[in-house]
Amino acid sequence: MAILIDEETKLVVQGLTGREGSFHAMRNRDYGTNLVAGVTPGKGGSDVQGVPVFDTVAEAVQETGANTSMVFVPARFAADAVMESYDAGVDVIVAITENIPAMDMARTVPYIRNSDRDVTLIGPNCPGLISPGKANVGIIPGEICSQGPVGLVSRSGTLTYQIIHELTQRGIGQSTCVGIGGDPIPGSDFIDILSKFEQDPETEVVVFVGEIGGDAEERAAAWADDNMSKPIVSYIAGFTAPPGKRMGHAGAIISGSKGTAQAKAEALEAVGIKVGRNPTEVAELVVDVRKAS
């Protein structure tokens, strides 16, 4: 088991004919992901290293049975691409593209979440996800991962790699590592992924990597307190980060949180979640938790 992607994953890549798209799609395929199709409007009928390209995702799904899509198209077209995948009937959409206008995602995320179909959007502005040994959809370097009992969810990209790396070095593998991305409105938030890990038999411990800004970590902490039976180890980046641009005065009013790393760490610790002070300590805490259980 794992969450969201595994051996059953059939991947279609939107933007396969682009430089970035083809580079990472082929890395995913080399990892063992079942890459079945690409989509580039107007290039239907061609192929990229043997992968058939279609004009629309609908056609790709119909012809290949694709159930997962990865979005690698430029930011101004990305929200449209996500909605296209949703409408074409895929179950998991992974949007790597960064710098998508917030207004676009403000409309796209509810478009998907409010529906009666159970579709998961990961990202945008994220490194994707990997279920080590099964499938890799996105840009997480497969070679730093190993299969095992740790589920990892993170708002950050490279920071996630760092932590995966530290875990793997200590011989602790991962069930699935999910980068949910750093955008204001992510398709999936911490709670969505935590609840999937809670239900996944392979996952025994969850590592939860947050950063300054917003109150997603605080809400996840409160939710986990009520709903998670599995142990959680956490890390928050940005204790010494320069204060970001404030959104007028309004930002702080609504979240009820200052959004600082300190506040987040306190919220997590208040519900009994251990917070490592650096990536290395996070890995060490996971070792401790594994020993204790």
Partner: protein, 383 residues
Amino acid sequence: MDLFEYQGKELLRKFEVPVPEGRVAETPEDAAEAAKGLGGKVVVKAQVQVGGRGKAGGIKLANSPEEAQQVANDILGMDIKGHVVKRVLVERAGDIKAEYYFSFLLDRSARKFLGMMSAKGGVDIEEVAETDPDAIARVHIDPLAGISDFHARRLVFGSRIDEAARKEAIAMIPKLYRAFVELDASLVEINPMVLTGEGRVMALDAKVSLDDSAAFRHPNFDDLKAAHDIPEQERFAKERGLNFIKLEGDVGIIGNGAGLVMSTLDVVKAAGGDPANFLDVGGGAGAELLASAIEVITSNPEVKSVLVNIFGGITRCDLVAEGILSALEKLDVKVPIVVRLDGTNAEQGRKMLADAPHPMLMSAETMLGAAEKAVELAHGGGR
């Protein structure tokens, strides 16, 4: 991008939001001219992006063009909390009967837009939120469905603003919403929204923040941006696509990905050092970008050592190494650079650095080790 008051008002005017008549001026003479054009009493307002300009003397009344010139002369060039005043907004002064607060923004946790209104305007709204939360009416708006008239009614009746202001406020709110959405704003804040002696409702101040990611939809975005002063080092970084923020310390930091860079700052701090900057080269950085990053960092005379912390994903460590080597070749680097590479093509990158020894270049195995070494070097030791 946070707009200046005058920029925000110009944009809101296009959406038929009532704002006072006014003109921006960069010199006292322009201010006099503007006052003349408006006629009668005017108010001269410093255009700075910081709160409390009124208390700091940045807002003054003038009864004549001469007086306007004089107060503009006082205000232009003022330093308000570190912001130097380069422009003033000269506006027709009116009789104000009441001041309200209004804003639209994105509520991340609800995944909806949030409208807020209060009869307690013109003051620090965060304080109102803390001391008298019921004084702020809030309404969520589904981004797909958009605004409907009832949202405006809930804000206006819920905030209990004066009866005389209700009708115009209810008419103004959908216009503010349209501006918020169509400008790709992350914030439209009107504080205060005022009821005038003549019974009109208008935006007396405006704080509008635009989404940089949506710049491609707004042909005037660059013009708006041009009015903003950016320090030389930051401008240089931005032009090259680097996400750079200057800090006060002496350990230069380069990393890929905001989370990793933030974590690197934390680790440097924990090791007893003081980061000189935040610099994220982003995803997929090539050799040239890395070279620019080193150029930006080393141009800061405060920097005593540099820590390059890369975990390759999209970013290829061989290209990072290439960039570092080319920077070392091109520039006269006088401070030590500690490099830690992991992830995509890391071995290749490490080998490239090892094969091209340079007195200022050293490698580290781990992130923690690299941070400790960089801090040690900044403090004058370690070599």
